[in-house]
Amino acid sequence: MVRWTCIILASVILALSAAELIWHRTPVEVFRGREAEGAKGVSVVRVGIASWQAGEFPFAEAVRRYEEAQGGRVKVLVTTLPEDSLNAMLLSWHFGRTEYDAVLAWADEEIFPFIDYNRNSPDPAARSLIVDVREYLTKEELASFVPAMFGGCTRKDEATGAQRSYEIPWMGEVLALNYSREFFKARGVKGVPQTWEEVEAACEKLKGLKDESGNEIAPIALNFAQRGFFAQNCYVPLLAAYKGERGILDSKGRLDVSSPECARVFETLKRWYDRGYISRHAFVSDDVEKDLEVGVTAMYPHWQSRGLWAVAKQKPGAVGIAPTPGAREAGSLVATYGCIIPKCAPNPKQAVEVCYEIFCTDKYGFQSGVSKGFPDPVTGNISKGGKMPVLRSIYADPELPEGIRALAPALEKGYCAPDPLNWAKVSDIIVVEFQRYLRGSTPTAEAALAKVHRRMAAEVYGD
């Protein structure tokens, strides 16, 4: 009995595997695509999007409108990808195999392993796994973008000196001071702080504030737990403001960790922490990210999207968004998200065209969804949005959220995180050494930053 059950089960598994392999070698999309290309002139473009973006942006609707507008000549197949599929993608593209003609929603630093692939090869064509999109976008299309949006994905070709850009930006983020008008009003904080000293003064006024349920309101929420958020939302904006027009880089073009202003940043953050200004969630990344949304903090320097999401969750007019202190002089940190096109894609030109048309322009409502939000497919309520559009022309839209319009000028002086490839490592070192300083294991800010400097030289740059 057991024997026969085993034989039957094994046969069923073998049969299913055989059926799957036959099916996989002749997938229905390929049949559909081949038949369509041959008979009706329809081509298929396969687009991969990160899973976290699937519910945040109106992909389905924009693609549907695009396909309709193309009169059925182009079919766009959208697949959601787990956020951690980066390495699998690298391996797959290394073997010249891709399930996607374009992949969206990749942060700047994440695309650099693709750009740097085979970088020492004498054959320029063998360098990088993704295409230089400047070769496929027209001059007019290139000129239509806000220039800062290309900052994170552009590299100088060492052989030719030409600037190469490896992604088509479709969404941006700008650092902002997100704040609660309600809590400001409750404690008589007038106007938006224009300097970090004014932020500190506001914190002092806001200290001890409680909501109607008796929950304590933190004057300011800062993320001391997540390396990227610490570096970009705490360290960089303060450093930029303190250094002014000198910028956040050192003489080697790396993030500055040795000037006196750097020590001032560490000291300021520690002082705020010691005085109890900072949210108790500072060491729990997930929680601090929600502080402004759930109304337990008065200020949250972060991307403008966090402020705009809080706007949607709070009473009308309760949350305001302004440039970070010093941004008018020093500019604002910008992050972009773009489409990357693998070199092994069968038709990169078409993939670039489709990505630009659907995801960069507002012809199919995608950029409106990016900035203003879009109807939730379940509830019908307008949700998400809050991101910066990538094309200059879209900023003329008077219906853009107030926060986005307020931050548009900050884009003109926008700058990206330096050295994106090493940004994660550098951020990691900075946050760890800051925490040691905060807890007293390193006595002074100067000593902490000296350690950061040494570790960066040894662990990141191999000086």
Partner: protein, 296 residues
């Protein structure tokens, strides 16, 4: 050993109760939190007796504040947010069942060979098998990936199944060889005298006698395949071939921030089958592990 002193017994019971509560509390917490709004969870109000305020849309379209204690909205959202949940479930169940079955089938046959047949290089081959247990799967990832590409098994359930069977085979061989070696030779001799072939001895004597070991291997293999994430993430690209652990990570928003209520509801749905399998087979599991350990 019976504890007769009432004070010692009370202390022992209290200690065991404490350990029991500590073990079960995270699960109870996840279950309770899965019935709460995210805002309530983040404000540490996960228990059913704690109320919270949420904004709901009234039939008139007006947004009104409502007091709630529990909600099923997380489960409703699972159905809408985790698109393809049923596919992930089917794939995971199939991989776990088929992978466990194939690992046990092939592994017990190999273990039988190692335990009962004396051939040249027996120990060397077994030693080589054991040696490969010591190499973490992640180290061989790129090699495996290339193999998958060359065999056209990438992005297929069959490819993933092959990887899981290969990965779990060694554990089965290791445990079952010890289990088979612990079966008295006299039983096998008696079966042989009665005219049974080696094949019949395997099915009629070894398998029934080694069922505790098989159950233990089965549970371990099933658990490892059910929870496996790394290979599933690396070897599959399409939604049709994804598994539940990969599907759950897709609930993560950027930078790993999650809607924790929805996450807990999904986690609960994902670990329920495992808990049921474990409860059903726990008797064999404990016995099987000790049986395997005797001759190790």
């Amino acid at each position: 050993m019976a504890v007769r002193n009432p004070i010692s017994r009370t202390v022992l019971w209290l200690s065991l109760l404490g350990v029991g509560i500590l073990s079960i509390l995270p699960f109870v917490w996840v279950i309770a939190a899965s019935f709460k709004d995210e805002k309530a969870i983040r404000k540490d109000g996960v228990w059913p007796w704690q109320s919270y305020q949420v904004q709901r849309t009234a039939p008139s379209g007006e947004s009104v504040g409502v007091t709630e204690h529990v909600t099923l909205s997380n489960y409703r959202q699972v159905a809408t947010k985790v698109t393809g949940l049923s596919t992930y479930y089917v794939n995971t169940v199939y991989l776990a069942v088929a992978g466990t079955f194939l690992s046990l089938l092939v592994g017990t046959l190999a273990a039988y060979g190692f335990a009962r047949f004396r051939f040249r290089g027996n120990m060397l081959l077994y030693g080589l098998f054991l040696f490969t247990i010591m190499i973490p799967g992640e180290v061989t990832l790129i090699g495996r990936f290339e193999l998958m590409v060359r065999l056209h098994l990438l992005d297929t359930i069959t490819g993933l199944l092959a990887a899981y069977v290969a990965g779990n085979l060694l554990l089965v061989i290791f445990i079952m060889r010890n289990v088979f070696e612990s079966i008295p030779q006299d039983l096998l001799d008696a079966a042989m005298i009665d005219g049974a072939s080696s094949w019949q001895v395997f099915w009629e004597v070894m398998i029934p006698m080694g069922r505790n070991g098989l159950a233990a291997c089965g549970i371990l293999t099933f658990l490892s395949i059910w929870n496996e994430f790394f290979f599933a993430l690396t070897f599959t690209f399409r939604a049709e071939t994804r598994t539940l652990p990969v599907g759950i990570t897709m609930l993560r928003s950027q930078w790993g921030v999650m809607d924790v209520g929805v996450l807990f509801a999904t986690v609960l749905l994902s670990f329920l089958p495992i808990v049921i399998v474990f409860i059903l087979l726990q008797r064999y599991f404990v016995r099987g592990l000790s049986a395997g350990a005797l001759k190790a």
